[in-house]
Each structure stands twice: as C-alpha cells, then as structure tokens.
C-alpha cells in the first residue's frame, strides 16, 4: 500500500532519530570499554582489549552496516527512525529495496557529508524535506506514527541513562583496578628506560667519535 499520503517528517524529528542511532553506537562502545575495565589481572588486559575491539568496533559496525538497510527494507527505517515513528519511502510510497537502502545509508551519507554536512542541513531548506542523500536516491522520510516523538524521546532518555550507568561502572572498575594499571604502566616505563640506557652507551653510537664523547 502506498504511503505517499503520510506527512513529511520535520527535521527536528529526524535529528531525534539520528541522536538515538548515535546513542546506541555510543552505548555499544561503552560496553566494549566495560569489558576491558573488568580486567583484574594484567594478563587479562590484552585478551579483553582484543575482544572489545573485535566485537564493539569491528563486528558491530559491520553488522550495523548490513542490518540497518534490512530494517529499512522490511519496516521502513533503522532503529532511530522506527523509535520515532518515521519511515523512508520512495517516489511511489513503497519501502526502498535493500540495495537502495544500503546505498542511501552509505554513499548517500558520504555525499551529504561532502561539504560540512550541508547535505543534511539542506533538509531544513528543501520543500520536500529531502537531504542530498534523499534526492539522489529519490527517497522521502514520512511520519507513520504521530506518537513517535514521545516514544523517541523516551528511548533516547533510556539509552542515555544506560550509557551513563555503563560509564559510571567503567569509572568504578578502572578506579578499583588502578593499582593493576599503575603496575603495568610502571613496568613498561621501567623497561623502556632500561632499553634506552642500554642503547645510550657511547660504544653503541656509531657517529660519536671517542673524542666527541
């Protein structure tokens, strides 16, 4: 069924949807750091760092890259847009295909970001409320639920609250294990100094002649 009769989304609501997406990404990053902060012994630190990097900063972005367009194809939008009751449709009022959604979210965003995010700011001045990424693919962002703003705000507050909670736990963990981090840092510093002092002997510096020393 065509959704062309739905009203166009206000830029502020789209901004809210974007903030929800960003908050979600921030929460995942903080969860990765939380994993690292739970290291109680020096030998756990490196494995936890590698696991956090792999999951939070490599696999999650990849998954988001492929899953978000799928959500857009099936339900009309990613997490942020669904929470705020927005949908992305084409000229005929139908959801975008997977490849067009992927294109819009990647190449489209690159183009909108090309000149100081002017492509996103364009949403405010365009009569059809289209950014550059919308114009090149022929998409429109419409409001499917009137209560989307309220729900979106609640979701944003919840995500923000969760991020604050995780950040707080992070700080507590890092503080609790401060001695361990200090020990690791000190031992690395000592070994670096030892390395420098073993290299700084006159015999180890070829360009210094004995008379120059």
């Amino acid at each position: 069924m065509s959704k062309n009769n739905l009203p166009l989304a206000h830029p502020l609501v789209r901004l809210l949807a974007w903030l929800i997406d960003v908050s979600f990404s921030v929460l995942v990053t903080l969860l990765g750091l939380l994993l690292v902060s739970q290291s109680v012994a020096a030998v756990e630190l490196i494995p936890n760092i590698i696991l956090a990097v792999t999951v939070s900063w490599i696999l999650f972005p990849l998954m988001y890259f492929f899953v978000n367009p799928y959500l857009m194809t099936k339900f009309g939008g990613g997490i942020g847009k669904l929470a705020t009751g927005l949908i992305v449709v084409n000229d005929e009022g139908h959801y975008l295909s997977y490849w067009r959604s992927l294109f819009r979210n990647t190449v489209g965003y690159i183009i909108s970001n090309a000149f100081f995010c002017l492509g996103f700011i364009w949403i405010w001045v365009d009569k059809q409320r289209q950014g550059w990424h919308d114009q090149i693919i022929g998409s429109y962002v419409r409001v499917s639920q009137g209560t989307g703003v309220v729900i979106g705000l609640i979701v944003l507050v919840l995500l923000g609250g969760a991020s604050v909670f995780v950040a707080n736990s992070l700080v507590e963990n890092f503080t609790r294990n401060e001695a361990m981090y200090q020990e690791v840092f000190n031992s690395l510093q000592e070994e670096e100094l030892e390395l420098e002092s073993s290299e700084a002997t006159p015999e180890a510096t070829p360009f210094l002649m004995p008379t120059d020393y």
């Binding site: 494995p47 792999t54 090309a114 000149f115 030892e194 290299e199 180890a204 070829p206």
Partner: protein, 334 residues
C-alpha cells in the same frame, strides 16, 4: 582527421560549470577521492643506535642486554596474547578483512556513482535539460555497475601488461650472458618502460571515452571498452591536446586560487598574529581566545574555499572531456 574546436569546448565548459552548481556536489566527492594523490617523500632515516665502530665483544654484550630487556618487556605481552582464544583471533582477522573489502567496495561504488552522475549531468546541461541531484542521481545509479566493470577491465589489462613486462625482462636477463647482460637488459628495459607509458596513456584515454559511452550512449562495459580503444587511437592527438589544456588551466586556476586564499585569508591572519610577536620571536605571546577562534575560522574558510574550487575544477575537467567526446562522436558520424 576532423577538426576539434578546443576554444569552443573550453568556453562551453566554463559556462556549464558556472550554471549547474549542483554538479559541484559530485565534483566535491571526486575531488576528495583524488585528493590523496600527493606523495609523501619519506627520506630513509638511519638508526643512529646501531654500532659499526665498536668492539665486537662489546657489541654482542649490548645486543644481549637489549634482548634481555626486550624479553622482559614482551613476557607479559606474550603471556597475555596466548590467553586470547583462537575464535577471537579468527573473528578479528575476518572482521578486519571484511572491513577492508567493504571499504574498497564502498570507494568504488561512490566513485562510479559520482562519475556517472556528473557525466550525465554535464550532458543534460549541454542539451538544455534540467540538472539537479534527482535527475543526475537516477543516471548515476544506473552507471555504477558498468563503470565498475570497466574499471576491473582496465585494471586487468594494466596488471597483465606489468606481469608480461616483468616476465619478459626476466627472460631477457637470463638469456644473455654476464658480459652483454647489462647493456641488453637496459635496452629492453627502456623499450618496455616506453611501451608501458604509451599503454597507460592509451588506457587513460580509453577510460575517459568508455565512461562517456557507458553513461551517454548506454553501452555495456565490454562494448564501451572496445569502442573507446578505437576512438582513442583515432583521436590520439586531440585527446592529448585536451589533456594538456586541462592540465594548464587546472594549474593556472590552482595558482590563482592559492594567491587569492593567501591574500584574503593570510593577511587577516597575519594582522591577528602580529601582536603576539610584538616582543620578538623568542617572547612569543599566545593569542587570546577570540584571536584563536578567528584564526580557526579563517583556516576553515580557506579549507572550504579550496574544496569548492577543486570541485569546480573537477566539474570543468569532466565537462571538457564530455564535450570533446561528443565532438569526436559527431565527427565520426559525419
């Protein structure tokens, strides 16, 4: 060979570039992608800590000391790394590979889209049609796959040429004896370098014509490649002249833009910074917050100005090539 009016092409390109500013969006993307062509000359640095003059026994002692220190330093690291499960390593490697592949694919798709959209926009502008992101976006979307196929084709030819040259040079080096080897290898090497240079210039021309055959004439990558090859051979001189004109105009424009930036941005920046040097260079005083803010704003303006200028140059260059292509096709049909 039919005549090409280069003056008319350049004037028309100026007009199209000035009139259709929506095309500068694609110019921005292409300019950003080509902006990493500057080479960084990293001079080889010597490690002044290695000894060539010292007593051998003292050198061995130094190395053993270093190994002992390094061994202590890496014990913790080695133990930690051994705690990482194999599945995590596998996920990490696969994830990094996937990121690299996605990055490369995204770059290719973006560039192909921007090229197709820009060429179609210039053609539409020349024909007096509407030029905006909506109309050019549709054409750009259709041009992605064939342009990527064209790029793969050109890359394959380039690699094949390099491999053949390398193998040929190796065979020549083996075939001749020690006495004649240097002379013959040098001679064959020079011939190969010249041949490769001509091939690469020809391939660059093929790319220019083929992209336009794909976007404007709707040809497939294979047909466009073959047709472009014959167009390049038949209009070699015209294409070289157009290339030289583009290079000269681009350089001249770049210099003028640089001078303009220097005057418009550099002078105000200097005026703001002069008080900081009032007591001499040794007694440099940090500018206040407002001055720093103003300097940052000026830097951003300079950056924005150069970005816009580069985008316009890209659009202009694409215009000249597109108009040359249309002239060449028209001459061929006559």
């Amino acid at each position: 060979m039919a005549q090409v009016d280069f003056g008319k092409i350049v004037n028309r390109s100026f007009y199209l570039t000035k009139k259709h500013k929506w095309l500068w969006v694609y110019g921005l993307v292409l300019a950003a992608a080509s902006g990493s062509s500057y080479s960084n000359f990293n001079l080889p640095g010597g490690n002044s800590n290695t000894s060539t003059e010292s007593n051998p026994s003292q050198l061995m002692e130094t190395i053993q000391n270093q190994e002992k220190v390094l061994g202590d330093a890496t014990t913790w690291l080695t133990q930690s790394l051994s705690q990482v499960p194999p599945t995590t390593w596998l996920l990490l490697v696969l994830g990094v590979l996937a990121l690299i592949i996605v990055g490369i694919a995204l770059n290719w798709v973006t560039m192909s889209f921007a090229k197709a959209a820009l060429i179609s926009g210039i053609n539409a502008g020349d024909e007096g049609e509407t030029v905006d992101l909506k109309t050019t976006g549709k054409k750009g979307w259709l041009g992605i796959k064939p342009i990527i196929r064209l790029q793969i084709r050109i890359l394959a030819v380039t690699l094949a040429a390099l491999i053949v040259s390398g193998v040929g040079l190796f065979i020549v080096a083996l075939a001749f004896g020690a006495v004649q080897m240097q002379f013959m290898v040098w001679l064959v090497g020079i011939v190969m370098v010249v041949a490769l240079a001509v091939l690469f210039v020809l391939l660059a021309m093929v790319q220019i014509y083929a992209e336009r055959l794909i976007v404007i004439k709707g040809m497939s990558a294979k047909d466009a490649f073959n047709k472009a090859f014959s167009l390049s051979k038949g209009n070699f001189l015209h294409t070289v002249v157009m290339g030289v004109i583009n290079m000269v105009l681009g350089c001249a424009g770049g210099c003028l833009a640089g001078i303009a930036v220097l005057i418009l941005i550099g002078i105000p920046a200097l005026i703001v910074l002069i008080p900081s040097f009032a007591r001499g260079v040794e007694n440099f005083q940090m500018p206040n917050v407002f001055a720093i803010g103003f300097l940052i704003l000026l830097a951003l303006l300079a950056f924005a100005g150069m970005l816009v200028f580069r985008a316009a140059i890209v659009v202009f260059t694409y215009s000249t090539w597109t108009l040359l292509f249309k002239q060449v096709i028209a001459n061929e049909q006559e």
